[in-house]
């Protein structure tokens, strides 16, 4: 009997914390208890655990990917893990917790809809907890889940759990984090991860796995304005098939909102209007297309449209601008050079850009804003860019798809910065 995971779709989540918080053990536990680890993988980590003189199988070894990491016993890069239950598929982005890897956490967070923030029950809310929460919030992860781990080491104390919860809520309020839940657990012993166990009887809420199985995905984006950056234009011009002679399909992925046949649309930046004549996917006609769906749009009028243009509903226009104010995370070892011209990639559109101003840099630990003149790797700052070509934007807080951009250094083609567009006046 096959089991399709149709009802709850797919959830992308991020785990934040360091090896000390038991993050790798937690991921290992999720994979292990959901039976996503197969015998030969388990056998390999059993052997390694023995080699290192450990008594139990070290589940954290499951997430150590690269040779260099195994040698150093740390995680240096984002890794992606997959598991599914009867009702949902999960993609975990596993980001290293060390301070110098802010850029990795921002990378991992950029595609996540939920973040698990691990707190060691003995240590409580630390600077690192604040940093992770701040970054998760900054990158716009809609839902935070604070997992108070290692409850086995504090005698499964409800009092300790409540203390940590209060401390966390205090600073979450300062950050403006509203959507947050708490769960006590022991990844090592398996309490409240997939199984409830019998040592946390005072906790009445759902297990971690229950929360993950029912947490919201991208529903919020369905009600946002329709945004369709054009990736590719299909003009078959197949002489053997006259029906295709005038075919012009505008191919892309719905970044947000939904569109139906007959809707009035505007093409930007030209500003020309038309209506949706047909929506297709692989030759099949659809009545509508929703957020995250890749489709082909056909319009009623013959309009010149190319990659980089954006199709939107005529009633919901984005901002057209040649200046960006954005929170930028610098990703490259080479510092930002204010004298240089960079390439900005936003949706499917590229433009050259220069820094107009660095307003401030934020200390990710203290949240203090400091005046700076340049940006180094892992810095997070408010930067204004002047653009050679206009971009079609929404504030990142409203729309991740049209609020995000990357900065590319054309000499190396490396991705050197990640930007999140600020709300006007913010």
């Amino acid at each position: 009997m096959t089991h399709f995971i149709e009802d709850h779709g797919l959830l992308r989540l991020l785990t934040c914390g360091s090896v000390d918080d038991g993050k790798s053990t937690l991921i290992g536990r999720l994979l292990f208890d959901s039976k996503s680890i197969l015998a030969d993988t388990l056998h390999a980590i059993e052997k390694t655990s023995q080699k290192r003189g450990m008594q139990d199988v070290d589940l954290s070894l499951l997430t150590d990917g690269l040779q260099a990491e195994r040698e150093q016993g740390i995680t240096i890069d984002v890794a992606y893990r997959y598991f599914s239950t009867g009702t949902r598929k999960f993609i975990i982005a596993d980001a290293p917790g060390h301070e110098q890897y802010t850029r990795n956490m921002v990378t991992a967070a950029s595609t996540a809809n939920l973040a698990i923030i691990l707190v060691d029950a003995r240590k409580g809310v630390l600077t690192q907890t604040r940093r992770h929460s701040h970054l998760a919030h900054l990158v716009g992860i809609p839902h935070l889940l604070v997992a108070v781990n290692k409850m086995d080491l504090v005698d499964y104390s409800q009092q300790r759990f409540e203390e940590i919860k209060r401390a966390y809520l205090d600073f979450a309020e300062q950050l403006g984090i509203r959507d947050v839940r708490f769960i006590p657990l022991s990844a090592l012993k398996g309490d409240m991860v997939v199984e409830r166990g019998d040592r946390l009887g005072w906790y009445q809420g759902p297990t971690l796995m229950n929360i993950l199985e029912t947490a919201p995905g991208v529903e919020g984006r369905l009600t946002q304005p329709f945004r369709f950056p054009v990736q590719y234009v299909c003009r078959p011009q197949d002489s053997s098939n006259p029906e295709l002679h005038d075919y012009r399909g505008f191919m892309g992925r719905v970044e947000s909102g939904a569109i139906a046949v007959g809707d009035a649309v505007t093409i930007l930046p030209s500003g020309l209007g038309s209506t949706v004549k047909a929506i297709e996917l692989g030759g099949e006609a659809l009545h509508e297309a929703v957020t995250e769906q890749s489709v082909t749009l056909l319009l009623a009028d013959e309009i010149d449209i190319s990659r980089g243009d954006m199709i939107v509903k005529s009633s919901e226009l984005p901002t057209q601008t040649k200046r960006l104010d954005a929170t930028v995370c610098w990703l490259a070892e080479t510092p930002l050079d204010r004298a240089r011209t960079y390439l900005i990639r936003h949706t499917t559109r590229d433009t050259r850009a220069k820094v107009a101003e660095i307003a401030w840099r934020v200390d990710v630990n203290s949240l203090e804003k400091q005046a700076v003149n340049q940006l180094a790797m892992n810095d997070i700052a408010r930067v204004a860019f002047k653009l050679a070509q206009p971009l079609l934007t929404d504030p990142y807080a409203h729309n991740r798809g049209t609020g995000a951009f990357i900065v590319i250094d054309e000499s190396t083609n490396n991705t050197v910065g990640a930007g999140m567009i600020a709300a006007t006046g913010a």
Partner: protein
């Protein structure tokens, strides 16, 4: 303070629809950003999924890239037949470059006659890339296959020597892919990075995709060698003293004959294969790839040298 739980019947994509939409988006980004890509097609199940995804991404137009196969000369004949027929059915251009040509040129030198040719494919691939000036190669690798792949980017940069530098990868954020490269460099694009083996089989079932027969249970002469089932073929004869037995087997991965082992199975339909995959206890490569068992870091090493 609590986030409300999910309401059913909202217009969300199923997990397969989501994976499909992501893969189509990646294929279109390659087409939009790169001037001369190619799609690596081996006749294996992952690249068969890629072909369907390319149809969904680009029809009614032609694919904006040719299909490319690096043939080790050690492939199962039914897979090669399937490869040629599939390319013809789609009406797309298929380029085949052969490892044996590289051996004749002297660019591939085997240590001994029966050394596995698998890892030497990298040389022929790099030669094909240079010959045609490809700036991107689309491949069917998945992150769940192997530890080193779990950290590879969807658009993965290779230098002039085809090398992957795992510690110096381009950050990849949101769905803003950076497939830029200078002349001589190359991007490897992996549209089904986020798929698992089970996802692949479920997609094959849903789309009704045809596969080479060796994916389904069949009788085959084999020998048992160091815990693996080794098929007996002209290229891989039984060694002295080994007993040849007929076993009901199927292949979970299809590649070079010398390094791809079948598993014992009576799953002769896709439905049965899915049921088996959902309950299997051995990973895909663990069961069937003799080359990855060499060491824990075997794949990482090969990728650094220009492997897919």
């Amino acid at each position: 303070m609590l986030f409300t739980t999910l309401k059913p019947k909202q217009r969300l994509l199923s997990h397969l629809d989501w994976l499909e939409a992501e893969a189509i988006h990646i294929l279109r980004e390659v087409a939009g950003q790169c001037s001369n890509p190619a799609l690596l097609f081996s006749g294996g199940k992952d690249s068969i999924c890629l072909l369907r995804l390319a149809e969904k991404a680009f029809r009614p137009g032609r694919f904006p890239f040719p299909l490319l196969h690096i043939d080790t000369g050690h492939n199962y004949p039914e897979v090669i037949e399937f490869r040629d027929r599939k390319a013809a059915e789609l009406g797309e251009r298929l380029i085949v470059r052969s490892l044996e040509d590289s051996m004749q040129r002297g660019t591939v030198v085997l240590k001994h006659a029966d050394e596995s040719r698998n890892k030497h494919q990298s040389v022929t691939l790099l030669e094909a890339i240079e010959e045609h000036g490809f700036d991107a190669c689309i491949g069917g690798a998945r992150r769940d296959e192997e530890k080193a792949r779990a950290k590879e980017r969807i658009m993965s940069f290779r230098d002039e020597f085809g090398q992957w530098d795992p510690k110096n990868q381009r950050p990849e954020l949101w769905n803003l892919y950076n497939a830029r490269s200078h002349k001589g460099e190359n991007i490897r694009a992996f549209p089904i990075s986020n798929w698992t083996e089970l996802d692949v089989w479920q997609y094959i079932e849903r789309e009704g995709l045809e596969l080479p027969g060796i994916y389904f249970a069949h009788q085959r002469p084999v020998v048992l060698r160091q815990g693996s089932i080794v098929p007996v073929t002209d290229i891989t004869p039984a060694k002295a003293g080994e007993e040849i037995i007929d076993l009901q087997v199927r292949f979970r991965t299809v590649g070079d004959i010398t390094c791809t082992a079948p598993v014992e199975s009576d799953a002769d339909t896709i439905e049965k294969i899915i049921a088996e995959t959902a309950t299997t206890t051995i990973t895909e490569r663990g069961a069937t790839r003799l080359d990855d068992q060499a060491s824990e870091a075997a794949m990482e090493q090969r990728k650094k040298e220009g492997y897919f």
